[in-house]
Amino acid sequence: MTAIESSKTYTIPVGPLHVALEEPMYFHIDVEGETVREVDIRAGHVHRGVEYLTTKRSIYQNVVLTERICALCSNSHPETFVMACEEIAGLQIPERAAYLRVIAAEIKRIASHLFNVGILAHLTGYDTLFMYAMQVREIMQDVKETLFGNRMDIGAMCIGGVRYDLDEETAAYLSAALDKLVPEVEGLADTYRRNHTILRRSRGIGVLTKQQAIACATVGPVARACGLPYDVRVDAPYAAYDRLKVDVPTLVEGDVWSRAMIRVAEIGASIQLLRDCLANLPGGPTHLPDRPDIPAGRAMGKCEAPRGELVYFLKTNGADEPERVKWRVPSFPNWDALRFMMRGAKIADIAIIVNSIDPCVSCTER
């Protein structure tokens, strides 16, 4: 009988279709026993050529198209795209529109973060908590359906403002929904803070150091869980964020648990932002009166999407169609960080670590 060399490394494939992955991505993983030694990430399974398509659609059609790049951060794409258009055209959106943009973005952020922390519970095997988190998320899904008429693609953005408005009734509905949400989120936060199952599967798992986070250029909750406080809403304010107090929670451990707790804390911060917006919502129009032409020019746009900084580059030449639209989603740099997070991890933790960056494959591959 031949003795098995204990130090030998084997390769195991994870994905592209895997029960623990929400979207297709292929991980080529070298393991030694149960321990991950090296990770190679191979992408491209949902590449759709949307970036090319944007140059074949008019600038106004692209407001609709960019919302279809992703579901969970669907609002962030058209929001950043229209910001770039407005920069080129030199447009200043109405004050009410600036606040309404914040409201739409924060509603989407809460729903997105609840989905991610819910999936963490599912991957730890704590399905009761998963279903509870998804039930809490339904409050925000109902808010989106009531305010925008849709549960995912909310169609709120337009060049020069927003396409929706709040009246007394819908504002009161949103306010009541937040009242309902607060104790539920506090309960969830308490569970994630104390529950033994969650803590055992997430604390000290998938650690990313601050230096590694800087090297990978990570953004969003992944970076903030490593002690990097960068948040576009504060560091490069847009819409009405300069007039609002944005709480940016940070932690230093850089593990799966920290990334989840950042998201839970950000839900609370978003609730406060929504309350502040409702309390200070100015009157006036929700968008500019005319549909402006976008002249030749170039501009950058960025916003804080639920997963972090979303960047758009727009170049126009005065034609109906843009000459080039390019965007970089927050997941794009965050994938690279997985190589550090997974090194030395156990095979059983791979799915939990992948989920902890809240990856969006549709966004990444376009």
Partner: protein, 205 residues
């Protein structure tokens, strides 16, 4: 309230002996977007080193092929002999002298310092190359691989110049070619549709 150093233009000019073309705008909320064109794209690494020392983060790299201006073609004239005597009209050039002929590349390296954008614009003629930024910025790896599969621009010394999103079986430089939609989607439904159309046409005739 720019986060860019007050002497950023001078620092960039010092790093790029070929010359730079600098401009910037500021939003009403104080966020700066700066653009720095390089006359010589070979200055990219030196400029990248300066930005690394300033704590810049590489946020994105964009590539495009600026179209040649319309109406540049020499029109056929009835007075052919006189026309031949005129000098040929040259294609316009970028700041660095690269011809904008629809085949050259513009590579935009979007850096962030704090919340402010600084984009380094480098032009590369058709068939040309540019150094990889990966020795300085790890985050350049994926964007440069994506550019290499979309265009035929050569990025030198990339540590892993393999396909990122597109299958190796797909031809190179997809964004420089017209690909019929039926080919793109493997024609699975299109063929069935055409069979139906042709069958219906056969019945009609």
């Amino acid at each position: 309230m720019t986060r860019l150093p007050h002497d950023i233009q001078a620092q960039l000019a010092a790093a790029a002996p070929g010359g730079v073309e600098y401009s910037s705008t500021t939003t009403p909320l104080g966020v700066v977007t700066a653009w720095c064109g390089l006359a010589n794209s070979e200055d990219l690494l030196a400029v990248g080193k300066t930005l690394l020392e300033l704590g810049a983060r590489l946020a994105m790299v964009s590539a495009l092929q600026p179209p040649a201006p319309e109406g540049e073609e020499v029109e056929e004239s009835e007075e052919g002999a006189n026309e031949a005597a005129k000098p040929a009209k040259e294609a316009p050039k970028t700041f660095g002298g690269t011809q904008i002929d629809g085949k050259s590349y513009e590579l935009d390296y979007h850096f962030l310092i704090g919340g402010d954008f600084l984009t380094i614009v480098a032009d590369v003629p058709a068939g040309g190359s540019i150094p990889s930024l990966t020795p300085l910025f790890r985050a350049a790896d994926w964007p440069e691989r994506e550019i290499m599969e979309n265009y035929s621009v050569i990025i030198r010394d990339h540590p892993n110049p393999t396909r990122l999103f597109l299958d190796p079986a797909i031809d190179a430089a997809v964004l420089e070619r017209l690909i019929p939609f039926s080919t793109l989607v493997n024609a699975a439904s299109t063929k069935a549709l055409w069979d139906k159309v042709l069958a219906a046409k056969g019945e009609a005739s």
